[in-house]
Amino acid sequence: MEYLLEVKNLTKRFGGLVAVNKVSMEIKEGEVVGLLGDNGAGKSTLIKMISGVHRPDEGQIFFKGKEVKIDSTRKALSIGIETLYQDLSLAENLNVYSNIFLGREKLKKILKFINVLDHDYMHKESKKVLDRLEIEIPSLRNRIRVLSGGQRQAVAISRSIYWDAKLLIMDEPTAALGVAEQKKVLELVLKLKSQGIGIIIISHQLYDVFSVADRLVIMRRGEKVGERNIKETNPDEVVSLIVGAEKVKQ
């Protein structure tokens, strides 16, 4: 079957430091892949290359079978790769629907030639996507700063979905949340998966990853040190891969 995303031998150096060394991985539609590794293992650099923040020094990226050059975040967004950062990339001073449309505001013309923001349209469309994902937020005119962590996470996810994400990269989606909210976010991940979206999750919380992921990719010191189907592994083995406690056959 054709992969949604396939990266081959991606390498990134910062000065003399090799942050990511010849890493290959792939993901299918409707698949959840956990990307694991200790701090400094190169996970963030890897996803930043996929999302267009960094340009790889070597290697190729294929999206739906075609090779793509992702040289900017805009480019990544345009082909359907959306990234949710730990701090969620929401402007706290703006309201829910303004954030969903941030950078891609819907405009309408008044007096036939002046472009203005089309608040009604943005409000209506945002409502639709929130309903589709069964997310409850009291009012879409609420500014983000009055929302809870889980609600913010949900807004960030809805934004990606609205903009037709094919691949969603989530950086520590549950890190800052309470237990109940963590559960809701994980349910949301499963819902997205069922709608055919590929998801890469970076997380330190093994429990979370094990509860939603199909497959795990483990990195250590810039290299991929293992790949496991979730059903064929256990947390102990994964931890030992992360810390490099034993040599593992590739």
């Binding site: 910062f14 000065g15 003399g16 430091l17 960094h54």
Partner: protein, 361 residues
Amino acid sequence: MNTNKNLALNVTQNPSKLFSLLAKNWALFFLLILILIFSFTGKRFFQLANFQNIIHLSTTSLLLAAAETFVIITGGIDLSVGFMMGLSSVLSATIMQKMHAVNFLPALSISIGSIIALIVCIIAGLISGIMITKYRVPSFIATLGMGGIASGIALIMSEGFPVTFLPPYLTDIGNGYLIYIFPGKAISFFNKPEGITGKELKELIRIIPNSFIFIVIVLFILWHILKNTKFGQHTYAIGGSMVAAVRAGINTNRHLIIIYVLSSFLAGLAGVFNVFQTGIGNYTQFSSMYELLAIASVVIGGASLFGGKGRIIGSVIGVILISVIENGLQLSGVDPFYRFIAVGLILIAAIIIDQSFPDLF
């Protein structure tokens, strides 16, 4: 962030010691080069008398820059220092004037005037500090407001004129020198040798202005506090990471209040000293922008407005650099207005150098 890291790595990997030394102390080297240039272009620039003059005229700027150094290291800013200096100058002068008018001893009226002015400044700093810490008003605004209030009060008290008719001896102290030498004839300390008048005055050699002694003592104390004490260490800690400082058990609110009190106090000291130097009370004009020049000096001296960085010695070099430019341009016969442009350009250079070599400082 990553580009910074990138650069830093490059630099540390190819260590060119001379280069990094130059970049680290560029302000000092630039100062030396300027002094060299002005020695050729400026009439009477490279003379003891002129250097003493530069220091003498920089006294108040040095105090304000020292005040700003503490505040900026904590990641704040104090826009009130210039006006606080004006308030202190006018207030102390007014009290001295009133007491002198009813025949108090000069020493008494001078000390009471100075002390009350300093106390008022301390109170103002206390209010700024409380607003900034307890009510979380951004320091920029709290001190802007306090500066407006201080300038208004100074103007109301002085009615927009210098405060005059002050007790005698003020300028003798403020403009005096430690050593007077009348070549081959007399030497005296603090006061001119007796019986010298007219033409002979021109031959009198004056060494080490009192203002120099005063500022060296104050700066030494401040340098010591910042460099060698727990208080100084905490100041850097707060600027580096407020959260970390709180977690480490530092009473950050109390510390910041003390910082703003110190800042106001030093500004007040500058105002009082201004009275000693000029013999009158001067309010601060709006176009003088003392606070901005002080901030500029501190930044030229290597501090970061994001906090956590800065040194007293750096700030001193910053102030002297600006003073030397003003003085040197003037003595070289260059239009004085070029100094505004020069300060602007140096400031931009300072920031760009600072950001290009983040790990050096």
